[in-house]
Symmetry: C2
Subunit: 577 residues, 2 copies
């Protein structure tokens, strides 16, 4: 073995946290536990904020929310009890492509090697169970047991995290936290060097251009993995240069600027407006970015474009019809496409295609004395939105409702489309609001000097992870919560068991939450039952421009849902009664 | 294949729930989710209570608490999102031997077989990830995909659950819920037939008796796995007939009747009273039941008896010194030992050995104006206890504190000793209180007509799983919560980071909890700062004899801990400042 001559060293924890900081991580979520306390000593000295969540599942969700806004998130848990509590959030990040670094503080190497019967183990001497359990839901794992190799291990796994935009799992034994490691690698950042172009690259591009130039009725479809693929800027260039009608999936919504005239909102397949459906059915080319065709995101597959007319930019390469050009990087292919695209050769549409677009509903169209209903609520709520807002629509009626909202530029929308673990959005709102604040503070947030995080969540979901409101309060995050009180799990009632007791939940006094969790006495709370109430609340400066946590309880019927699949399902359930 | 001629059938869900009921399960914990809704249709018709928890981790903890009181508990979650949220609770039950039946509602077989990209999957077409993850923390797994075999599968796995007193994992695909299965097996209950005696049985018993008759200074040590091994009645017979000094571990505390004069409380190894330590060190025989020698339960191994003088009744057989008689069943060996034991041949002690016993502290010894401190709190709180109470001491200072309390007969104590996942005890209190109420209602609870569940929990732990207070309220369970407000994670401060910010938590208005979570307006709450306050609260009839949730916030210093390891650790941390 060649021995290094460089002598400059840092402690392992310093190395790890420096690397995270270089990746743009400015805060670490998690919960202290005895096997990670020594590691936590190094968080704040590294210039990172320690968030300190109420439990690990919430911490994982929050770190995921942070990652989706800021690019990368980090979570620290303790061995066994902590990491297992978080594992559902890791699976969520894996499924929906959030770059999450999960660091687990583990027992000292000597305990592990001697199979000591210590707490937070199963008592069988086997210390590998939990890493094996996590292996199913992460892109890569590494165990930092050797000072000689651990710096390289960290660099390699962080690359995996960034490249795949998926969680990675790093074990740090307690006695490794402060071991010296060579610092020289820190001089350059962890960077992903693009490999030499695949031999398929040019062939793919030729095929793509052929299809584009031949198309008589082309359109663009943006799905949610386009974000993690790094395609957003390129997509906007394409939208602006072609002016082709552009749609998104639920997962892709907010990735493209809905204020552009050729952006038409979410294509919801079997539930689409007839004019849009007709246009889609007549298309001879769909340029699709970042496809994520799960049942929910694709409206039970009804929104998946026909393969033979589709070009897909995916993780595994470029697909043109049935042909896959493997290992062609989506981002560089799009970049080259934009360079080569000859605007004289592709279809241009007349300015008015008469395709409907998402609309805001003015309050004059909602009788002020009428009870708030799902049919109008979302398009009314859209009046409240401002550029740069983060909007989170929790799984349930909100997930479908937010898809109806016309979003201002630079809005970031969260709507779960595959993992769909209720309880995700409240902690995710904490993480997203923190990321948003940090980006604003460093002038990296669309040139905006302030922004809000707006959570819309049903009562059942709210109960799952409610304690993270306290973290929002403690860190003084600017979050507005619209709690939909529809007396139970309405999404489940839509699916089965309309009037079954198992879809009921405890009845809480929701608006007492800010006080209970320690908000200042003057924290804004309001109750909304009618459209008049809603208009008043949305227009209240204390709500719209206030700071910290604000909370609005919106009452809706328990068997009400936004138009679309849930609405149809609940009508069907009612017909079965 | 021989075809059955019997034609009587029941639906699969009916079969499963009938079996659970036969095992004494009267309530199922869990959370509805789309893949389990059809299964839930059958819960209440089967005569089982559906609890409906706020989230799955809490549901798992609650089912574990239920199991530890009632023998077996059951939990229903939904595929992926639900089961993974619960997996930490399953690991807890596995480690500390709670018999928990985890039933997961999974997607229809057709979706699984065709690798459909549906919600609650990782999107990779592989439906086996989550069962593989769970496999690490359960005694057995089964997947009910075949109507021909599923009844037998259920019977076999329930036997595994009972015999090992550990969780098992049952997958029920949605489309299997209502398939007809032959009902004939239901006529007899699932019973575990004791296998023929191991050839080792007589040899073991001979050795055990030899040791017992030869001993000059014998004693009995009862550890926590004695409960799941079914040894408790036999142990009491042994204690009563030998009158030998008897100690427990933390895990074993409350398994033996502390009102017996020869029962001396928890043996805490290196922290023991000198008289007890001397007696232990002089022992030439320790008869130990259900050993569970993890670091925390054994006071960092200092309380583990020396192998050469110890007889252990364990899961794998009887150990006499260094010799293991494998596959000798602990329960039948103890039963035979009791039959054969000749009282003229074993050591009898003089009535007064002068060994100290746990003591209640009278309030006259605690100045009423003084602030409540850990040194006296627990022995004062012991005044409050009544026969049949379930007492739960959450991990943290409470876990050590409750070990100081002299427990009345039939008290059931919960103190986590290996898994130590904070947040466990509050939901476990919900499950235990429900089990207790059901046992009282069916006159199976020590001939008592009422009983209370008393939870003592720190603020940090309370925040983890707080929403289960709402379940306690909704089901009108009789639970008294003593919340120790010591401003953060004191147990972590003891270990490391005495004054570090990461051991701080959000400050809540704890006594607003009952109101927020929907308790009646007159729900009892009180604040305790001094011993005078404590005496008054404990003597208040509305608190002691009230119904439903009662909550007391007890303020203590953040750097205070009961005598023992935590106390020593925090003094050491202070000396490092």
């Amino acid at each position: 073995m060649e021995s290094q001559t460089s002598s400059e060293t840092v402690k392992l924890a310093e190395y790890l946290f420096t690397r995270l900081k270089q990746l743009g991580v400015e805060a670490i979520h998690g919960v202290p536990g005895d096997y990670n306390l020594h590691l936590l000593d190094f968080v704040e000295p590294a210039g990172l904020l320690w968030v300190g969540n109420a439990n690990e599942l919430n911490a994982g969700y929050a770190a995921d929310g942070y990652a989706r806004i800021k690019g990368v998130g980090a979570l620290i848990t303790t061995y066994g009890v902590g990491e297992l509590s978080a594992v559902n959030s890791i699976a969520c990040a894996y499924t929906e492509r959030a770059a999450l670094v999960h660091i687990v503080g583990t027992p000292p190497r000597a305990s592990q090697e001697s199979r000591l019967n210590i707490h937070h183990t199963l008592g069988d001497g086997d210390y590998r169970h939990f890493a094996q359990m996590s292996s199913h839901v992460v892109a890569a794992q590494t165990n930092l047991v050797d000072p000689v190799t651990c710096a390289e291990q960290i660099d390699a796994i962080l690359k995996q995290c960034i490249v795949h935009s998926r969680p990675v799992y790093i074990e740090v034994p307690m006695d490794m936290v402060a071991v010296p490691v060579l610092a020289d690698r820190l001089r350059s950042e962890v960077s992903v060097i693009e490999p030499p172009r695949s031999p398929n690259h040019d062939a793919a591009l030729t095929k793509v251009l052929e299809r584009i130039y031949a198309a008589k009725q082309p359109l663009i479809l943006v799905d949610g993995e386009a974000r993690a693929l790094g395609l957003i800027d390129g997509i906007h260039q394409l939208i602006n240069s072609t002016k082709w009608p552009t749609f998104t999936t639920g997962f892709g919504k907010s990735l493209v600027d809905e204020s552009l005239p050729n952006v038409h909102g979410v294509y919801n397949g079997g539930y689409a407006d007839p004019a849009i459906k007709t246009f889609m059915d007549g298309a001879d080319l769909i340029v699709c970015f970042g496809p994520h065709f799960s049942s929910t995101n694709s409206y039970q597959w009804s929104a998946i474009p026909k393969t033979d007319i589709t070009i897909c930019f995916t993780w595994s390469g470029i697909k043109v019809g049935n042909e896959t050009f493997r290992d062609v990087l989506a981002k560089s292919a799009l970049s080259q496409l934009l360079q080569q695209l000859d605007s004289s050769k592709f279809k241009t549409y007349s300015t008015d295609l008469s395709l409907p677009r998402s609309q805001i509903l003015p309050f004059k169209d909602a009788p002020s004395g009428s009870k708030v209903a799902q049919a109008k609520f979302w398009r009314l709520l859209a009046n409240f939105l401002r550029p740069g807002d983060v909007v989170l629509g929790e799984t349930g009626t909100a997930a479908y409702g937010v898809r109806e909202m016309l979003l201002p530029k630079h809005t970031h929308l969260f709507t779960s489309v595959t993992w769909l673990s209720i309880g995700y959005m409240l902690p995710a709102a904490q993480g997203a609001a923190l990321a948003q604040r940090q980006l604003v503070a460093s002038s990296q947030y669309h040139s905006l000097s302030s922004a809000r995080t707006i959570l819309v969540i049903g009562d059942g979901s709210f109960q799952m992870t409610v304690q993270e409101l306290a973290t929002i309060i403690r860190h003084k995050l600017d979050v507005v919560v619209f709690l939909i009180n529809n007396d139970g799990y309405t999404i489940e009632r839509c699916i089965h068991g309309l009037n079954q007791g198992y879809n009921d939940i405890s009845r809480w006094k929701y608006l007492q939450a800010p006080s209970f969790f320690g908000a200042p006495k003057d924290a804004y709370t309001a109750e909304v039952r009618t459209y008049g109430d809603l208009e008043q609340v949305l227009g209240d400066k204390a709500m719209a421009d206030g700071k910290g946590l604000r909370m609005v309880e919106v009452f809706m019927d328990r068997n009400d849902a936004p138009a679309g699949p849930l609405f149809d399902m609940i009508r069907k359930q009612e017909s079965l009664q």
